[in-house]
Subunit: 376 residues, 2 copies
């Protein structure tokens, strides 16, 4: 089998999510938005799909990958990685992830198996945490500690056993004391048994981060995420030495599993972090295997079908799937109209079940895409 | 699909290889020997096979694995690993490897794909090194430096681009000066272009190891393998700091990829080492991914179909497949009469090609096995 082409299918949909100046998501008025779907086609008619990807990525991927055996995922991954050095935009880690996931999807479709079973299955379901959007100034949204507490209680009633706050970030923050007030309000509302995490402003000082960590320890939080610039690894070494609460990271740092290795060796976090947006399922499994060799947990970052498949195949904790981002004003399950069914349904016990369907397990709504497709 | 049973098929064959008091292989008079084949059967009729395994292993595996989905390789691997703590003999790393490889073989047979393509292929062929048996006292065998040189020249004419000496070990050695004499005789005979390696007595002192390493540097050897007890990690840190030649290890040390992680962090070798006898393809890929995250080469130890499949899927060097063990008195390709074709055919350029056949790529000679089968 040979790859015959890589195609970008672009289509419009109505989004209710906008971005602030930093790129964080918030509820917004309904507006037109564009989603892309990357298709890898073969000479034998088999296809693989992953949402995301750009036309520039597809142009380069066509140059590099046409004629290659789609089963040579490792060779393809390494070639794309080498091209990245001078083609960082078209072949971002995110785009390599899209291409890698489309190849895994193809493998699953050809064999009739979900990706996590091809990798070697470990579990069929995973506890989810409700992951909020960042704080805002929307009355009754995520504008006050009380609003976070209301929302956490709503999530708890839905079945969630864990809840993660994203704190206030520019232009709505930051303010460590307000973050703590929100965390305290949530803990008081949900009681002692719900697992709670904080992902706060990512550019606090060491002293602010230490203050926050100590307060989270008092509130019996489960972990503490990215309170400082991740390029200052020494700051994370320092913070991890001070705190008892588990520091999780790196998340946004460049450098794939190589960077995770350095953080582990330096003791820059207690729990490592990776996701398929940093080079796909192939890269994330490499990071998981790295972590396993050091007895270090890997909490997978972000949601979606690729991360779910990895969680199904990882033989170590990570204990959680990140479900979201959520906001009291939004229906999360309505945000992917290009799928016939939500990829990460939550059961009443707070688990997300991994789809037993082939590949990434997506039921793509081709009618929706055809009706909304846009050209070059 | 569910695992319905694990069976040991035992059969006799005529071996021309004997073992010395330390367990090393040498040519011997033809004698009866027993080989085993592990079969994992499923309720849907699909099977997976791997040579090796014991009845005690099968008894335990039947207790633990019957009813499990054979696609849950990671879950199975972790359960077997946990059982190892108190069942070290039946569930040795070697036996876990056999069960894991039988499951990979099954996955390949079901999908019609070789294992390395399921993992994600990187290469279809790999350079081999001719790997000798240990030195002996057989006239014209491997009894003198000159005999090693004769044999290296013969291998070079066969197409091998690399040659590894196993030196003299008890009861035929050790003697560092004699090892060096053999290495020198080989280098002088084959010329400057053939890659050469030494795997010598595994219990030399630090001083003897340093002497050997310095002599190998002068002879432009490619790597230096296990000259000291691997439980003394500090000795390897010391040796690796002294030498320019690449120190390869650990090879026989217990502890799977966890131990490789510690050697990497401590700088106890330049090149890491792993093989499927330490927990199978699943474990070896974990070690390969660990090494990749640190920019460390992994030279896969030993031959056979499982190691070949791993080499096909590894996106990093290891540059070589270990073909052997070889001896001037033995025909290597006649040593597996239970296979219809040799698993690692050497081409005239010195490459071994990975079988494109499903699973581990073995063509099992069922007639031979039936004719020689023995009962409990």
């Amino acid at each position: 089998m040979k790859i015959s082409g890589i195609e970008i299918i672009a289509f419009r949909y109505t989004s209710r999510v906008g971005r602030d100046a930093e790129g964080h998501a918030h509820p917004s008025e309904p507006h037109d938005a564009v989603q892309t779907l990357t298709r890898i086609a073969t000479d034998e008619g088999a296809d693989g799909y992953c949402f995301g990807g750009s036309r520039e990525m597809a142009r380069l991927a066509n140059e590099i990958l046409v004629g290659e055996d789609p089963w040579n995922r490792e060779r393809i991954w390494q070639r794309l990685r080498q091209y990245q050095r001078l083609a960082k935009t078209a072949l971002s880690d995110h785009n390599i992830g899209v291409l890698d996931m489309a190849l895994w999807d193809l493998a699953g479709r050809v064999t009739g198996l979900p990706v996590y079973k091809l990798l070697g299955g470990y579990r069929d379901k995973v506890l989810a945490y409700a992951s909020t959007m960042c704080g805002d100034d929307l009355p009754g949204g995520l504008d006050t500690p009380e609003a976070y507490a209301d929302f956490a209680e709503m999530c708890q009633k839905q079945g969630y056993k864990a809840f993660k706050l994203h704190g206030w970030m520019p232009p709505y923050g930051p303010d460590p004391k307000r973050d703590v007030a929100a965390c305290r309000a949530v803990r008081e509302r949900v009681g002692p048994d719900m697992a709670l995490m904080l992902d706060c402003y990512h550019d606090y000082s060491r002293e602010e981060a230490l203050y926050l960590g100590r307060e989270l320890e008092k509130l019996n939080f489960t972990w503490f995420e990215e309170p400082m610039n991740e390029h200052s690894v020494s700051s994370y070494v320092w913070l991890t030495q001070q705190l008892d609460i588990a520091v999780v990271g790196p998340e946004t740092a460049e450098g794939k599993m190589y960077t995770r290795a350095e953080w582990i060796v330096r003791g820059a976090s207690d729990i490592s972090r990776y996701d398929v947006a940093h080079g796909g399922i192939t890269a994330t499994m490499k990071a998981a295997h790295l972590c396993e060799a050091f007895g270090v947990r890997l909490e997978v970052h972000g949601g979606g079908p690729g991360n779910l498949q990895v969680l199904g195949a990882m033989g170590i904790p990570g204990g959680y799937y990140e479900r979201g981002l959520l906001h009291p004003f939004l229906d999360y399950e309505e945000q992917t109209p290009w799928l016939k069914e939500v990829i990460d349904p939550l059961d009443s016990e707070g688990y997300v079940h991994i789809s037993p369907k082939p590949g990434l397990g997506m039921e793509i709504d081709w009618d929706f895409i055809a009706a909304n497709r846009i050209g070059e």
